[in-house]
């Protein structure tokens, strides 16, 4: 009986491991005086009781308590002495105990002695194990890393010197507290995921942000390993934390400096680019200016003198010569229009867009009214769907709609009954407007040429024009951040779309 009950007590002393050491370390001073006195008192008590009373039980088994208590403050040699003392007391008691059965007394004494010796043996073993753990613990204290142990409830059970240095809490302040609460640990990932990984693989590694006792932030590279008991149940977590706050701050600083450099570089690039564009614009402007001034003058002279020639020599010119002069006049006039169109197109690229809320509905109505007057002799069916408001430069957008409607009117000229539809698709981020006609259409193979400057898909005898209208449409729409596209079938009609962003 007695033998069975002291076995777990001794193994428990060994199992107490790190926690025990921690406790002995903190309580050692008070125990150093009280415990030997109490132990001696108990030993004497047992001796007196065992000697004076004639109990038919192995009373001396109680010396086990003395041995166990002594184990807590004695070294190995002293413990052996205590054990022999207890054995001596037991034998003396046996000899001097009055009366009783000799055999019974002998059996009891043997049981008691066996118990004492066995306990001593185990206590010695335990002491040895404790000593080695203590040595390890002091080694952990030597480590620069902060190391602490917390049980599965998160309560801190061990706290090394590194942890004290890192966090500012002493062991006696930290032990018994909830680790995450004490350190105000900030997890990058949900703690449940983290624990799941820990239980599955037995370890976890990562960066954590924690708070020191003075409230400042400590960034640590944290490594956790899970301790399991004999039955493989998780019992504790060993957390080794490496202070990387400074490194992290340096890294952040480097990152910030790099970003700053990058921003500065980009800004410089932007400024260079802007200066380039500015220079190009200036060049373009002076080009347009000289076109405007210098190219038109000779043209005017050609037209003027051809006209004068026509007047002066109309009586002497034969029919062929008259036609030549007429052609010169027409060509000059046409070139004048081309130059004007091109200049207008170029101005469009340089003009600032003045954006406001624009009622496309009203704008479409204005344009249609304008063309309605021009085409009152033609049979045109206009289908106009409701169109929302948009955000843009009104006069520019009027040019867009005007050009598209003008095209539709022009290319449906070959139809007895023309149909022109203006509709809208009100999208989430953009507004799309389309102008659809049943006119001459175009070959989709040339769709990419539609919006180029001076690009024409019809011969000038068929349909007049300079080829600048759709280029103007595209330029304006692009300047509004929108898109243009078209579909067409030869001799069946065309649909021109443009979209504008809503914001």
């Amino acid at each position: 009986m007695a033998l069975r009950c002291f076995q777990p007590a001794v193994t428990g002393a060994i199992r107490g491991q790190v926690e025990l050491m921690q406790q002995t370390r903190s309580r050692g001073k008070a125990a150093s005086i009280l415990l030997p006195i109490a132990t001696a008192a108990i030993a004497i008590g047992i001796f007196v009781a065992d000697t004076l009373t004639d109990l038919e039980i192995a009373f001396a088994v109680l010396y086990v308590v003395v041995v166990l208590l002594a184990a807590r403050f004695c070294g190995a040699r002293a413990l052996v002495l205590v054990a022999f003392g207890c054995v001596g007391f037991t034998v003396v008691s046996y000899i001097f105990t009055p009366g009783g059965s000799v055999v019974q007394g002998l059996v009891n004494t043997v049981i008691s002695l066996t118990a004492i010796l066995l306990t001593t043996l185990l206590a010695l073993q335990s002491q040895k194990a404790t000593a080695s753990l203590q040595e390890q613990a002091s080694l952990l204290d030597q480590a620069h890393d902060s190391i602490f142990v917390r049980n599965m409830k998160g309560i801190i059970t061990y706290w090394n010197r590194g942890a004290q240095e890192l966090y500012g809490w002493r062991a006696e302040e930290a032990i018994g507290k909830n680790a995450h609460q004490l350190l105000r640990t900030n997890f990058q990932v949900p703690i449940d995921d983290l624990h799941a990984e820990l239980v599955r693989t037995g370890r976890w590694e990562g960066e954590l942000s924690q708070a020191r006792s003075d409230g400042t932030e400590a960034i640590v590279a944290s490594r956790w390993s899970l301790q399991r008991d004999d039955q493989e149940r998780p019992v504790a977590v060993l957390e080794t934390n490496n202070d990387i706050t400074e490194r992290k701050h340096r890294e952040d600083e480097i990152k910030r400096l790099n970003q700053e450099l990058e921003i500065r570089r980009l800004n410089q690039e932007l400024a260079d680019r802007a200066a380039e564009i500015e220079a190009t614009n200036k060049e373009l402007e002076s080009f347009a200016y000289s076109v405007s001034h210098d190219l038109r003058a000779p043209l005017r002279h050609m037209a003027g003198y051809a006209e004068l020639l026509q007047r002066q020599a109309s009586s002497v010119l034969d029919e062929k010569s008259a036609r030549y002069v007429q052609t010169i006049l027409e060509a000059a006039k046409r070139m004048g229009i081309l130059i004007d169109d091109l200049l207008a197109f170029s101005r469009l690229g340089r003009a600032e867009t003045k954006k406001t809320r624009v009622s496309l509905e009203q704008l479409v109505r204005e344009v249609v009214a304008e063309f309605g007057q021009e085409t009152k002799d033609r049979d045109i069916v206009w289908k106009i769907a409701p169109v929302p408001t948009c955000y843009g430069d009104r006069s520019m957008l009027r040019l867009v709609v005007g050009n598209l409607v003008a095209n539709a009117v022009k290319f449906t000229r070959i139809r007895k009954s023309a149909e022109i539809e203006i509709g809208c698709v009100d999208g989430k981020n953009e507004i799309e407007l389309f102008v659809k006609d049943n006119g001459a259409g175009f070959d989709m193979r040339y769709a990419n040429k539609l919006f180029g400057v001076f690009q024409r898909l019809h011969r000038s005898e068929e349909f007049e024009g300079t080829g600048i209208g759709l280029a103007t449409v595209q330029r304006i729409v692009h300047r509004h951040g929108g898109k243009v596209w078209a579909e067409g079938v030869v001799d069946q009609g065309a649909t021109f779309h443009f979209s504008l962003p809503k914001s």
Partner: protein, 151 residues
Amino acid sequence: MSKLGRILLVEDDPRDVELTMTALGEYNLANEVVVLRDGQQALDFLYCQGEFSDRPNEHPAVMLLDLKLPKIDGLEVLQQVKSDERLKLIPVVVLTSSHEEKDKMRSYTLGVNAYVVKPVDFHEFVNAVKELGIFWAVVNEPPPGSMKKAP
């Protein structure tokens, strides 16, 4: 009898001069025109200096001013005229090839009285010049001190 004022035509291009004179000639206004070929000559005329030092100090009824001129350009001439107390009453019409917004803005800011873009088409050109000549030399009452047509 209509009183014709004198027309100053400041134009460097001889072809433009000829075409303009032809247009004005169709309405018998050509005799009233003094042609000046650059900005400096225009200012000399207005200030009665240099080759014009002995001309009677009277103002023209209108000055038709090209912008692109040798030596001193049209805008500089305009600025000089409109900033001089003695000259600023002279009506100035810019007659130019330039459609440019910039030129129009600058001209009106300086106080030009009209801005006309020379049309490429000769008929339109003739019409424009004719109307200008008739309006400024015949219809419009010039400010006091302007030259009158010799009776």
